[in-house]
Amino acid sequence: MVKYIRIAINTLQEYFVYRVNFFFGRLQVFIFFVMFFSLWSAVSAGRSSLGVYSIPQIYSYFVVGYIIKAFVFTTRTADIGGDIQNGNFSTLLIKPISTLKYYFSRDIIDKLFNLFFMFWEFILILLLFKPELAMPSLFNFIAFILFLFLSIISFFFYSLVISFIAFWSEDAWSSRFLFGVVFITIFSGQYIPLDFLPPVIGKILDYTPYPYMFYYPLKVWLGQIDQNMIYLRLLNGSLICIFFYFLSQFMWLKGKQKYQSYGN
């Protein structure tokens, strides 16, 4: 346990070495929020509702979504693909540590560090934009926390799966770009609530893991999913989590056998 705490501390120290890069990284996330918040402010100006959303609900979608992004989509598992391809992975394999726990330790500290900054950014958002927010009932809040927890775990294993593709592919970043950036941002509902898209697309997305990582937690916060459906969605979310856990374990076992060390 002590060695993984040491890994986490070392990761934290890395952030302090590349301070400007980290600052700009957070600034980029903040700008992304400002852009979408401004866009939806313009869309909702002079209107009392947009589709099934009241204006406070549409603001909440993006403001609470900002918190979800910091909890769920901050990860260091994206480094694995690069490590596999440049040969750094070999040095990890010969160390007396669990490789997956090594990345998990880095992931945890990455989330904590980002959450710390997200907290202050969130206060800044409330002060700057003074958005009128929709608050959930106690039941919905508890369900939201459960969804959030499932989203974090699902995304961690999903991201591992994407990184492990590097065992078989010649380029780690193409699969990360398609599955870890494009699909996640578009299909999880980060740009637009998914029920604004044509119904047929919404139905197809229902069979994918993406809405469970961002869209459904927000729908629960907004009280737009009834109680029975929440249980069903939680069950689906848990199954997705289990699926990606086993898939990542399978790929890890097979990938290690396939791994060829080259590079420095």
């Binding site: 890069n21 700008i31 852009m35 578009i186 637009i192 898209l197």
Partner: protein
């Protein structure tokens, strides 16, 4: 003469870059697929937003879709031309930039122009076809004059994008931080997926005067739609000249303060 040799070197570098992409066809296809999804859903998102509201600040759905299509086209051209900036950091950290400074090429050649990204080429063709298709579909076909103005303002926008990339490269020489700065530009650029006029005052001022995304993306689209004012044209050219001069000055300043990382 100098221009000819400059173009020759660029063509050689472009060929190398293309060969590099062809070495890993599967990953190139995956990248193109990602860009295709991004493009298609950008249009779909704008279409879906305008399904909820008929107009936003006097912009209609067809106008907004043309602006999105123009944005994507110009963005792909910029990505094609200046992609090498994204790989400049390792060059700086290794100290390889010293060798580039010794070559009889403009000092900004390596960071900005040495690696055109051919993965954007299929997208550029597709985006031109889609733009023409939707202009005809929405009965918004521009006159020859407007088309000429679009090419002029569009080229001007690309020069401004060059200046912005040069400013980022200059900043990276001083700090060796580059990745997130490029991503900030990309995030801000994405704001032009809709006409920047629709944003509130504060954000619109940033997009118009601080990081002039409006000049790069929105004004060329307005030229196509014949809604660009003479003031907009003047602002576009004046701002580009000013920004180009400032970024060249900043580039020279950063070169004076450059110290090789490896020595």
């Amino acid at each position: 003469m100098v221009t000819n040799s400059f173009i020759k070197v660029w063509v050689i570098m472009a060929k190398n870059s293309l060969q590099n992409k062809l070495l890993s066809p599967s990953s190139s296809i995956i990248f193109i697929l990602g860009k295709l999804f991004n493009y298609a859903f950008s249009v779909l998102i704008i279409y879906s937003i305008f399904n909820q509201v008929s107009t936003i600040k006097n912009f209609t759905s067809p106008q907004a879709i043309i602006i999105t299509l123009t944005f994507s086209l110009i963005d792909s051209i910029i990505q094609f031309l200046f992609r090498s900036l994204y790989t400049f950091r390792p060059v700086l950290l290794k100290g390889d930039f010293d060798l580039d400074l010794l070559k009889p090429l403009p000092s900004f050649f390596r960071p900005l122009l040495s690696g055109p990204d051919f993965l954007n080429v299929p997208m550029i063709f597709l985006q031109i076809i889609a733009l023409i298709y939707f202009l005809i579909k929405f009965s918004l076909v521009p006159s020859v004059g407007n088309l000429f103005l679009f090419l002029l303002i569009g080229t001007n926008g690309i020069i401004l994008a060059f200046s912005l990339h040069l400013a980022i490269a200059s900043f990276s020489i001083l700090t060796t931080e580059i990745d997130s700065l490029v991503m900030i530009y990309r995030s801000l650029g994405r704001a032009a997926i809709v006409p920047t006029d629709i944003y509130n005052n504060f954000f619109r001022i940033i997009l118009s005067y601080v990081i002039p995304i409006t000049v790069i993306f929105t004004l060329p689209a307005k030229a196509v739609l014949n809604i660009l004012t003479p003031g907009g044209i003047t602002y576009s050219f004046a701002f580009t000249i000013l920004f180009l001069l400032l970024s060249l000055y900043f580039w020279k300043y950063s070169l004076k303060h450059y110290s090789s990382a490896s020595s």
